[in-house]
């Protein structure tokens, strides 16, 4: 059991929203690095070491692709490195591309952590009352992706068992994927029909129904919520005051090191490392108790 999974859903939601909000709307190199580091650490703690290494194969190419794409389209900047078809490729554009790539991957990692922690029952608990239809649709749509992956593995295994495209060549493997994909499209249409039939059979949309959720708002949740809000407030106040203003064009700006700027970096850094710290603390406590037995 992960420590952050036991936190009250409302606190989790506030926490994830505040990290994502800052990381997407405050473009500053230090904050972006903190988002990436915090996200990667938390992801590694949640998913385990082996899964994290496997993910690197996805994130590193993505990083390079985003970082290289920006200088191809943005030609502003005072330091041209060379000219491509008459257009300058500038140092500033490359740095800006790297910063965008860091943000994209940081946000992806945090979204991954979100899907680990905020299971669909928690989402329904939070939003089932105020927006019943939308929250049901959202939780079903989010659930669809893991279900889709599981089903596609199943189809692919079945095809392999039948001896289709079991060759080692890459072309064969790509062909197999395409075949699985077509099977998946018809399966997903069928699945949608079945889902709606099943919902009808269970009386969805009929009388008002009650539900049970095992969530309790504890004192520790209150402390965590207060901490999140304070750290977010410090960060947002800094952003509103222009402490985190940063620009890449036409010349890369200077990373501020005034006391206000350092305070903002520290506050947001603490916010990003909060769940990882919680996990570590939980693991230490657990090991301590185990050693006492």
């Amino acid at each position: 059991m992960k420590a952050f999974s036991n936190v009250h859903p409302a606190v989790c939601m506030t926490y994830f929203l505040s990290v994502l909000l800052v990381s997407m709307f405050v473009p500053h190199p230090v904050l972006q690095a903190e988002v990436l580091f915090g996200g990667a650490l938390f992801c590694a703690l949640l998913g385990g070491r082996r899964a994290s290494f496997r993910d690197l194969g996805f994130y590193v190419p993505l990083f390079l692709m985003v970082a290289v794409t920006n200088p191809l389209f943005s030609h502003n900047g005072v330091t041209p490195l060379f000219f491509l078809n008459g257009n300058p490729v500038t140092l500033e554009a490359i740095l800006c591309g790297i910063s965008i790539a860091v943000t994209v991957i940081g946000v992806l990692l945090w979204c991954k952590c979100y899907s680990f922690i905020m299971t669909s029952d928690k989402f329904l608990y939070l939003f089932g009352k105020p927006i019943p239809k939308l929250s049901l649709v959202l939780s079903m749509a989010l659930r669809f992706i893991p279900v889709y992956i599981r089903q596609s593995r199943r189809v692919s295994r079945a095809q392999k068992a039948m001896g289709l495209y079991s060759g080692k060549s890459i072309v064969d493997r790509v062909k197999n994927r395409m075949r699985v994909l077509t099977a998946m499209i018809s399966w997903s249409l069928e699945n949608a029909m079945e889902t709606s039939a099943s919902m009808k059979a269970r009386g969805y949309g009929g009388k008002k129904r009650t539900s049970f959720f095992p969530f309790r708002f504890r004192t520790s949740d209150g402390v965590l919520l207060a901490g999140t809000i304070v750290l977010l407030a410090v960060t947002l106040a800094g952003a509103a005051a222009g402490v985190t203003d940063f620009n890449f064009y036409p010349r890369v700006g200077v990373i501020g090191n005034s006391s206000a700027a350092v305070a903002v970096y520290a506050a947001f850094g603490a916010l990003c490392l909060l769940p990882s710290a919680l996990e570590v603390k939980e693991a230490v406590t657990w090991n301590y108790f185990v050693s006492r037995i």
Partner: protein, 187 residues
Amino acid sequence: MKKDILAVFGIVLILAVLINGTHVQSVDEYYLTHIDDITPESKTVTLSIRCDTILRNYDDLDPALRSEEFVPKDGVIMPPTEYVLRDGDTVFDILERAVRHGRIQMEFQGAEENPFGSVYIQGINYLYEFSCGPLSGWMYRVDGEFPSRGCSRFELCDGQNIEWVYTCDLGQDVGAEWIKESGGQGK
């Protein structure tokens, strides 16, 4: 295995076409060090680039550009300079030659990407469209008049005077009056 070799061959072919289509130049190669010399019998035009209007609207300017490096104190990015006019040269040809000779940064949208079928100048000397308010951008004047044509469609004659000016108010602060009447497009 045979199929894999074929696939690799196809990828290599695509890469070769891509690499063949790109043309890499070093910085010094790109900026011309030598342009046509002016001889008594050569046709010439005069070109200047100015951004005085920014000095009057300094508060609207993007904070990152508030430096003398990007906005000169007198507003002159390039003083009136004579350039040799080759046959069929448009305003854009002269501007491109001038900025490459003068090592001035310039970015443009090519004629084929532009809905008006003409080159659009996005920025000169790091001053881009919308850098100084929502109505700002580059416009050009030939002998004191704003042509209602794109700069790569305006062919020049001997002795004409081209001025590239930065506007912060859709041309009205640099004296382009036709915009009021026709509501037409700049550049």
